[in-house]
Amino acid sequence: MIPFEMQILVAAILFTIGLIGLLTRRNLIFMLMSVEIMMNAGAFAFVAAGARWIQPDGQVMFLFVLTVAAAEVAIALALLILMHKLFKSVDTNQLNSLKN
């Protein structure tokens, strides 16, 4: 069996990829994709943890995370359409109307 540390390492690498994507990309669609990668990295770590203790809890949690991520994306895409209507762009650098 693959050691638990290695499984968590894979999850951590995925998480870092998502985080780097979120920080460097400026296109809203790509940023949302990066957030999804981060979420899935966390969910993957849950599956790994569940497998370590031979409990179904980790996989149940994976399903919950998946559902929640889907709900988030539904709202996110609605906001994306609104942004395109109002700003004529999906570049997050355009979001600069809020300041003192």
Binding site: F4, I8, A11, A12, F15, G18, L19, L22, L28, M31, L32, V35, M38, M39, A41, G42, A43, A45, F46, A48, A49, G50, R52, W53, Q55, D57, G58, V60, M61, F64, V65, V68, A71, E72, I75, A76, A78, L79, L80, L82, M83, L86, F87, T92, L95, S97, L98, N100
Partner: protein
């Protein structure tokens, strides 16, 4: 079982009824009245919980003194927001009714968070609270500011959720349990923390820090507070923070985590930076909602002192401060909501000039709430700060107590700037007419602020189980 979980069922049923009514017959007044009735019934059902406490629901939820009290505060908050939000939402051209639907589902999530004793319920409650909030923040969807705030909140909250999931997974992987109390027992038996638990706790604290808007996870706060509708800002500052704070409080108290030095220093760092940065950044602002956003960052920094103090003193001071902060900020943001005319919120401090001439009652409620946030004597905020300082002193956290006192002094500058604008006379002043029900809600808030500021004894005694 039904009695202990009655508030959740009532809110859920109200949610379904409101959803069905909205889909068949759109009427703003009817929707508001239905949501108000449901929330009020949930509040009444809380009083029947008497002798079955504490009560556990299948390892998932816990109904004890703490959760009953804070769910009561959340329900009261939402009642006030339904009343004061009615006037605000009525100015939006179409699709007014969804406000109540989203507010109630967010409330249900917050209630679940408050009562959660398991990582699963905490995560689900948090998401049930946050996902409707993304939509609520962007509710004025024809305005750029609102949509911008919604997108910023969504992206950062999504990242913080992912961090939370990863942190919880690491803690579960190390301990083999997702139950808060079993996990706490596991932690208290450790002499040295394994690196997995430490990393997990770090990620968990980062995510909690985001939700509570602690420096350095605070960057979203001013923008989101400014862009979202005023009643939603009120919800974010009060109910949005209660659930996260309580879960953190339960975890720290059960596991006696603050005796582990890494956790203690992380929390102390968050507290110190939040107090200082929040107050200093607020000084240069002129937009009232932004000032209150930075002040909320500072307030959460103060609140962490109660967590670090621990024990019964810390519990009492933390709960009292949390409740008073929630009520005071509800008062301030509800007043802003009621000042809104033709979808135009007053932004700059100068727009609050002569408020006293336009509506003396509103001016008094607004200033009382601001004074309570500042911690002026005779308001509840003062007593809350005193108890916080006492709790900190009894745990010998001298640096933090000193910073609390110094920062309260700095805070006075920007709070009094707002209040002096309110009472400054101006020539052009048209009267503001307040709806009767909203006036009652505001009167309720000011009575609580003054009552707890003058005679807090009974309430404080009642806080400790």
């Amino acid at each position: 079982m039904f009695v202990a979980l009655a508030p959740y069922y009532i809110i859920l049923v109200t949610l379904i009824i409101v959803m069905l009514v909205v889909s068949f017959y759109r009427n703003h007044m009817l929707t508001a009245v239905l949501s108000f009735t449901g929330t009020a019934m949930a509040l009444i059902s809380l009083t029947n919980l008497c002798n079955c406490l504490p009560w556990w629901a299948q390892d998932m939820l816990i109904t004890d003194h703490t959760s009953t009290l804070l769910i009561g505060v959340s329900l009261l908050t939402v009642l006030v927001l339904i009343v004061t939000g009615f006037h605000y939402i009525h100015q939006i051209e179409d699709k007014k009714e969804e406000y109540y639907l989203l507010l109630l589902s967010s409330l249900l999530g917050a209630m679940i968070m408050i009562a959660s004793r398991n990582f699963v319920t905490f995560f689900l409650g948090l998401e049930l609270m946050s996902v409707p909030l993304y939509a609520l923040v962007a509710y004025k969807r024809t305005q750029r500011e609102s949509v911008e705030a919604g997108i910023k909140y969504l992206l950062l909250a999504g990242a913080s959720t992912a961090t939370l999931v990863f942190g919880l997974a690491l803690m579960y992987g190390a301990s083999g349990t997702m139950d808060l109390y079993t996990f706490a027992m596991y932690l208290s038996q450790l002499s040295q923390m394994p690196s997995f638990v430490l990393a997990g706790l770090g990620l968990f604290l980062a995510s909690v820090g985001f939700k509570l808007a602690l420096v350095p996870f605070h960057v979203w706060t001013p923008d989101v507070y400014q862009g979202s509708p005023a009643p939603i800002t009120a919800f974010l500052t009060s109910v949005g923070k209660i659930g996260t704070f309580v879960f953190l409080l339960r975890m720290l108290q059960e596991a006696n985590l603050t005796s582990h030095s890494p956790v203690f220093y992380i929390l102390a760092f968050l507290s110190v930076t939040s107090m200082i940065v929040g107050n200093l950044l607020a000084l240069s602002q002129t937009h009232v909602k932004r000032i209150l956003a930075f002040s909320s960052i500072a307030h959460m920094g103060y609140l962490i002192i109660a967590l670090l103090a621990g024990g019964n003193n810390g519990y009492q001071a933390g709960m009292f401060y949390l409740i008073i902060y929630a009520i005071s900020s509800i008062g301030a943001f509800s007043s802003i909501a009621l000042l809104t005319q033709h979808q135009k919120e007053p932004n700059d401090i100068s727009e609050y000039q002569s408020l006293y001439q336009r509506s003396p009652f509103l001016a008094i409620v607004f200033s009382a709430s601001i004074f309570s946030l500042a911690g002026m004597p005779l308001t509840a905020g003062f007593i809350a700060k005193i108890y916080l300082a006492l709790a900190g002193a009894s745990a010998a956290l001298w640096l933090l107590v000193l910073l609390l006192v110094v920062n309260s002094g700095i805070g006075l500058y920007y709070y009094t700037r707002i209040v002096s604008a309110v009472f400054k006379p101006a020539e052009t002043s048209e009267k503001i007419r307040l709806p009767l029900v909203s006036s009652l809600a505001l009167a309720f808030i000011i009575v609580i602020i003054v009552w707890l500021g003058v005679a807090p004894g009974g309430f404080l005694y009642w806080l400790v189980p």
